[in-house]
Subunit: 173 residues, 2 copies
């Protein structure tokens, strides 16, 4: 275990996914992120390979490598990894992420709001529809937290639709 292994959100995503999967390769994790979590917190391809290596070096994961063929790497949680995840889950947070919305940033610096509304609305409406279809599929079968985060996503996309619709109509949002 190297001297200091800082655990970032990316780290906990890997730990959380491996906790659910039992044992998995980076590629498995990539797939899992793509189906679900990635909608509100994606992890780029290369990180999904780099992060388990870091975590293994820190003692949070054990690694088993195929001897032949593709020489895939299989990871699973060590007791230290399980404990780190449990502690992180048990600690509620009041941290608030910044909006960091690219369209809003342009408007802040003087871009035309109505034009921005016209560009944003179709994409936002598509997202709402997509998420609503998805939530119907998974409600009841997926873990409650997964459904909740999807509902959070729907709420925020609807808020954007509300906001840009008013802007489009020249009303005060």
């Amino acid at each position: 275990m190297s001297s200091e292994t800082r655990l970032s959100s990316t780290s906990y995503i890997v730990l959380g996914l491996l906790d659910a999967a039992g044992e998995a390769t980076p590629y498995d994790l990539k797939q899992t992120v793509a189906n679900g979590l990635g909608a509100f917190w994606s992890v780029p391809h290369a990180q999904v390979y780099a992060e388990p290596e870091r975590l293994a070096a820190g003692g949070y994961l054990s690694e088993r490598r195929e001897e032949e063929g593709r020489r895939r790497r299989y990871y699973r949680l060590t007791p230290a990894g399980q404990q780190a995840l449990r502690e992180w889950l048990a600690e509620p947070t009041d941290e608030m992420t910044e909006l960091r919305d690219a369209g809003m940033l342009k408007v802040f610096f003087g871009a035309d709001p109505k034009q921005m509304a016209a560009a944003q609305l179709p994409a936002r409406r598509r997202k709402v529809a997509e998420y609503e279809a998805l939530v119907e599929q998974i409600a009841g079968v997926a873990p409650p937290g997964v459904v909740l985060s999807l509902r959070a996503g729907i709420g925020h996309e609807r808020e954007w639709v509300r906001f840009w619709s008013l802007v489009e109509q020249g009303e005060e949002p």
Copy 2:
């Protein structure tokens, strides 16, 4: 001008602020970000010093340095910088930022939603109150885009309050 200077959101923030300020030091920019923009898109201290240097190397800014005392660096837009900013502003975007909310991430992986709601609600309510006070102060005097982005922030914080309130009451959000 070095071969390739990629312009990121941080770059455009620096360009946008300098466009409004005329001429400014990194420290001036830091202050300006702290009052307003930083609420929905902050830029860390060290970046505010590093980015103008990069932009100057790329030909987007000109630099003038005090000969004495603190040897402050004063930056201003070059014509290339003005054009880059104008083009960026003129191009609407349908890009959608991921939520990346730390509390939701924990709930996704199994943290207790009610406990998270209890931690989140006070902070979210404070933000709403703070923003609402601020918008009353600046409405009418600040540029419209600045007011709009503040209203966007209010909308999203209210959405979080709505969401976590329902979770707290055990209802479906």
